[in-house]
Symmetry: C2
Subunit: 302 residues, 2 copies
Amino acid sequence: MIAVDWGTSSARAYRLTPDGRLLERREGAGGILRVPEGGFPAALTAMVGDWLADGESRVLLSGMVGSRQGWQEAPYLACPAGLADLAGAVVPVPFEGATVRLVPGLSAEDAGGVPEVMRGEEVQVFGAIGLGAIGFGALAPGEADGLLCLPGSHAKWVRVEGGRITGFSTHMTGEAFAALKDHTILGRMMTGTAEPGPAFEAGVARSGEAGGLLHHLFGTRALGLFGRLAPEDSASYLSGLLIGHEVAAAMARPALVRLVGSGPLMALYGRAISLKGGEAVAGDSDAAARGLALIGETTLWA
Amino acid sequence: MIAVDWGTSSARAYRLTPDGRLLERREGAGGILRVPEGGFPAALTAMVGDWLADGESRVLLSGMVGSRQGWQEAPYLACPAGLADLAGAVVPVPFEGATVRLVPGLSAEDAGGVPEVMRGEEVQVFGAIGLGAIGFGALAPGEADGLLCLPGSHAKWVRVEGGRITGFSTHMTGEAFAALKDHTILGRMMTGTAEPGPAFEAGVARSGEAGGLLHHLFGTRALGLFGRLAPEDSASYLSGLLIGHEVAAAMARPALVRLVGSGPLMALYGRAISLKGGEAVAGDSDAAARGLALIGETTLWA
């Protein structure tokens, strides 16, 4: 089977054995924003045409490719939802030469009745808990409980109970960081990128003080004006502030959190969770492949 | 006397009688960012040269004109500070044909030891409390107590005790709003501007719920995706979220708050303060002129 995690700004394709082992992995040409109108069949062929020619006949897609801006819109499935629910709700996509299915995203409502949505992260969550995660209630996907965090532009915190996703919340932390760094006065005094270290930790500590995030943001500038925050440390401090506020809001009490994803955000989130009294366990960067494999096993392909 | 409130993006000049009454008011050519290196004497002459030719000989400046990027840097005065402290710390500025003085800004530290700064708002505060503010402890500036809010890109909340500014906090609410509206996915679904009304009030109400600001921001998008927030209401909702978070953090318990400033933000802040259980009293848009007049009376000009 071929699995593709196709998001807004990137695409990752995986070739899998019938029992879900990873044969080959590749970065695709780019996210859905780079695909022209009507260009998805050609983009898929460009990405995995050689695997299809070599005999693969099933393709399972997840992510923003199933949004209104993607190949075809797959309606959100409401939480709580498990692996079998997702497999039962895949949407067929017309394509010459292979059977293509799209995994729907999930929707939920938070305590205030405000809607929540995700596309792609649900597959990563099932891949991560299916991996036999340390500290989760059980190894079998149908029995796992836990709290997972998927860092990113729109970071997701996902609650899993009895192997089903029962709720989740999105935090616009990454996108807010970029907007504040590139389009406010804060960025004028910044050089370099966010790194785990003392400045990041100072930002996380500050997030626990009174005054609120909008006040803490100004402190980034004031500390710089008084020479108490160096330009090369400012991005790390700002990142610590934002991620600290996110973790404090999302991790109601110190908990074991499974991080899912890859890249430099993983270390930052791990450090912030730990400073807030929780425990972070490292994630699997191929959780999407594993999740799509598990869903693919249950999907009725005919 | 001539008083000039000269900020980053605007300048306002006032001609005052010896007893502090306002004779004439005008908007200047622009803020300090529009003045070229070494161009401040010429910019002042362009703004008020006719008043000087007509016999005025004293000019008192406040605001970012006293910053490193301004005409001349005036060191911050530390809080607590009263009107007489500011008058005693004015900085002489060389200028042909008039005696020019610069009012310094104020600095403070919040409970977490993080520095705070302002330039110009301190003058507006003394102007506002000198006006005989309803609800403040007394009419005389030397006796006033109270909490004031100056909305803006960097909104200030100022605590006055016994006629002195004892502390203040800055919230980057206005600049964060602009960055989020213009440079994140939230702005893609927005038309129009922030207005007081049901959408703004819904944003303020949302700010009181669990989940934190970074989570609430994403809700703006999710509500839009589900058709529960119209594009023309989104800016008002986002504004309500941000101002609501600011007011909740800055007004520790319901209080009487004197708003100082002018423009559409005044109505938004007034509504948010009221929804959070406080009481807002309307401000004076010429508080800077009044404050500079009061400082000018006490200043040693010779």
